[in-house]
């Protein structure tokens, strides 16, 4: 699946997009965050405050318990500040 990062998550992780293949026991957004946070210091930093990071599955906002099975694109970003 494709993972996208925006705003300061993109900067901390050092990329805006990557392909990942998480193990089968990673079933929802919360577990995916835990798994990604282990991938290096940039990731750990980006996901340090779990409460503040927002997610979208296939371009729809998703909560921590949202299942990721079948998702093709998952995005992580800070709370939005447009308008």
């Amino acid at each position: 699946m494709t993972i996208l990062y925006f705003a300061w998550l993109k900067e901390k992780i050092g990329k805006d997009e990557e392909q990942v293949d998480p193990p089968a026991e990673i079933t929802n957004i919360g577990e995916l965050v835990e798994w990604l946070a282990q991938r290096g210091p940039g990731y750990a930093d980006a996901f340090a405050d779990r409460e503040i990071v927002r997610a979208a599955i296939d371009q729809e906002f998703a909560e921590t318990d949202a299942p990721i099975a079948g998702a093709t694109e998952i995005a992580f970003f800070p709370p939005v500040t447009g308008g």
């Binding site: 925006f6 993109k10 979208a56 371009q59 709370p79 939005v80 447009g82 308008g83």
Partner: protein, 149 residues
């Protein structure tokens, strides 16, 4: 209608295009958001807007459809810019047109409140002391919450 673009926009032209030939419209409310030169006591020279292409268009269309349905609007438009901007530049335009002014006003406030909390844009402000990502404001969440039903 929604548009996500780097180019500036002309409010008059958009109002005319939107209301042309629809003479049952009595009121057109408009909001334009501008880049401010100050933020949290800090002087701002530049602002850059990042967004999530694809999801942005989806969310704007959803937000607009919700407003059209709730207030039975005759016409509406959201334009949101992205990329590098400067103080005084136009960022966002919302237009809501209805037979009656109350619906136009209320729908416009709704659009702006929802844009602020549901559209995947992120602002980065640059000043003498470097660049900073803008933090979301609790007041925007409060403003959006009043439309919950």
């Amino acid at each position: 209608m929604i548009r996500v673009q780097t180019e500036d926009f002309d409010v008059s032209k958009e109002i005319k295009a939107l209301t042309q030939g629809k003479t049952h419209i009595g009121g057109v409310a408009t909001f334009v958001g501008l880049v401010r030169d100050m933020a949290g006591g800090r002087s701002i020279d530049t602002m850059t807007l990042d967004h999530y292409p694809g999801m942005t268009e989806k969310m704007l269309a959803k937000i607009e459809a919700e407003a059209v349905e709730r207030w039975n609007l005759d016409a509406s438009l959201i334009i949101h810019r992205y990329g590098p901007l400067s103080p005084g530049d136009q960022i966002v335009l919302t237009i809501t047109a209805s037979a009656h002014r109350e619906a136009a006003f209320e729908a416009n406030e709704f659009l702006m409140d929802w844009l602020k909390t549901k559209a995947p844009f992120w602002k980065r402000e640059g000043g003498k002391d470097g660049d900073r990502w803008v933090e979301a404001k609790a007041s925007d969440n409060d403003a959006a919450a009043r439309w919950s039903r």
